[in-house]
């Protein structure tokens, strides 16, 4: 019991360290570098705590779960930002809430696809098998900026804010790959870029049936044929009103 409690506490400390680390990584240009708080030093400290713990399979599992709150918050924020499509589709309030939930799930699924794609890239192209928990953390931390996706609701400037956050998130992944795995800069950016390309390839190939099923499920939740773009939703609304 005591050892389990201590393990849990260590994990909590680890998460707090990670949060601090991310803040440093994200704002490293603004935060004055101190001997103990440079990203490299923080990574070292993190490894000292993490490496022995990471040997334990159950800890790996717990760590993956520990990132869920970040993902859920980022997912909720992102879903709120994308909610304009739900309004355009004239979804009723109850179904609206359900669709937000569906969007959060999709967002989390996208995160794991990205983690997997980086693992595939390193395995296939660099022939190095990275520890999956490390990738989960490296990519998970990069999702922190997306917790501010809700700011893209701001009219007109929101589009630019969202694009900025996506670029920021992408850069943090590349940066984390560099810091966590000591990859050369090009390699780090290539692995992050591969994640984007890989996701698109999946969407257009083996992912099609999954997307089809997902769309059917979304239509079911929405209670109508759901259009994924505002423009298409508006033109369908016009057609429907003309037919009536």
């Amino acid at each position: 019991m005591t050892s389990e409690f201590l393990r849990l506490m260590r994990i909590l400390v680890l998460i707090c360290t990670l949060f601090l680390l991310t803040m440093v990584v994200i704002a490293q240009t603004d935060v004055p570098a101190t001997p103990t708080l440079t990203p490299e030093a923080a990574i070292e400290e993190f490894r000292e705590v993490f490496d022995p713990v990471a040997q334990d399979d159950s800890v790996k599992y717990v760590l993956s779960i520990a990132f869920l709150p970040i993902l859920i918050l980022a997912g909720l924020s992102d879903a709120a930002a994308q909610s304009v499509v739900l309004f355009a589709n004239r979804v009723k309030p109850a179904r609206f809430a359900l669709l937000i939930f569906v969007n959060v799930l999709t967002f989390i699924f996208g995160y794991f696809v990205w983690v997997f794609s980086i693992w595939v890239y390193m395995k296939v192209f660099v022939e190095v098998e990275l520890a999956l928990p490390y990738i989960i953390i490296a990519v998970g931390l990069a999702y922190l900026p997306l917790m501010f996706s809700f700011l893209s609701i701001i009219p007109y400037f929101g589009n630019y804010i969202y694009s900025g956050l996506l670029i920021f998130s992408f850069l943090v992944i590349a940066q984390n790959m560099q810091l966590f795995f000591e990859l050369p800069t090009t390699q780090a950016y290539m692995s992050a870029l591969f994640g984007l390309v890989f996701t698109q390839v999946l969407r257009l190939t083996v992912g099609r049936p999954i997307i089809f099923i997902f769309q059917k499920f979304r239509d079911l939740v929405a209670g109508t044929r759901f259009e994924s773009s505002v423009e298409r939703a508006l033109s369908r609304a016009q057609k429907t009103s003309q037919e009536n």
Binding site: V84, F87, A88, L151, I153, I154, P155, Y156, G158, S241
Partner: protein, 334 residues
Amino acid sequence: MVIDILDLIFTLVLVALVFAALTSPFESLSWWAGWMGDETGEEDDEIEEEVEVLDDQTAEITPYKQFVVYLTGIAGISGEEYLPEERAFLDTLKEKLDNAYLVDDIYPYSVTNQALTGQRVLSGFWKWVARKKLEGGRAGMLVNLRNVLQVLVSADSRYGPMFSYGTASIIIKALNRHGYPFGSGIPVTLIGYSGGGQMSISSIKPLTVAIRAPVRVISLGGVMSSARSLNAVEHLYHLCGDKDGVQRIGPILFPGRWKVARFSVWNRLKRARMITIVPMGETVGHNGAGGYLDDQTTFPDGVTYFDFTVAKVSSLINDPPHLKNMLQIEPEAS
């Protein structure tokens, strides 16, 4: 200590501003989604049907050859209460119009035509702001800020299309109230002052489709984007004084207005001479003293800015120059 308090005030203002910006699109979005009870976007889809019913009733009874709709600037609180200079402008303009009916009871910063002081959650707050504004305080800036956010909603590619349906719907309802003979093809001219310029151009397409008549726009120092809806305009006259810094926000803020965006709607229409820039003078500004509606400041020939603006706008309505060009072009084409 003082710095801490200033810091706190700054933070609170910033948070309030972000909160206001975040909530600003939801009036038009929930209207479109049909979440607003009786006032729903879904019901407004049926406007066209209502229009058809009205065709036979009113087609022959109007003596007017044109309907003019005024869309107020960002200082507007409701469709009934305008700034004194705006009210004077509208009253004088009415007298100068030949066979044209002026509709001036629209509040374009709400898709439901709901005044800020009307049936709203924050109506009490806006009533207080309106009182302070009348007393000459700076509280009026809050109205400006709120309406600027609505202009941005209208210019946003995500919210804009839904907002434009809302604006078109309140214009159609106003035309209906004032006896516009739907189906007659009688042209409608929208006058958009300041932010009203953006509201005008964003509503052109759904408005044209619904009333099946040409829509012209006269922008009085309008802040405008390169909205896709502009494609449906018969002609846009953009009146701007050299000292008007507000209208200059449009060409800076909206990339479609930049000269490099050669294929934007705005630049294409400009090349096609469907947009005419009407210079109002080197010394004319946007509002207040030295603004378009200033009845104190005069040009060297003794004409006040106010009279000049009224004369310009009324001549563009009574005798639109673009129609002469169209008449000149037609024989050549045939």
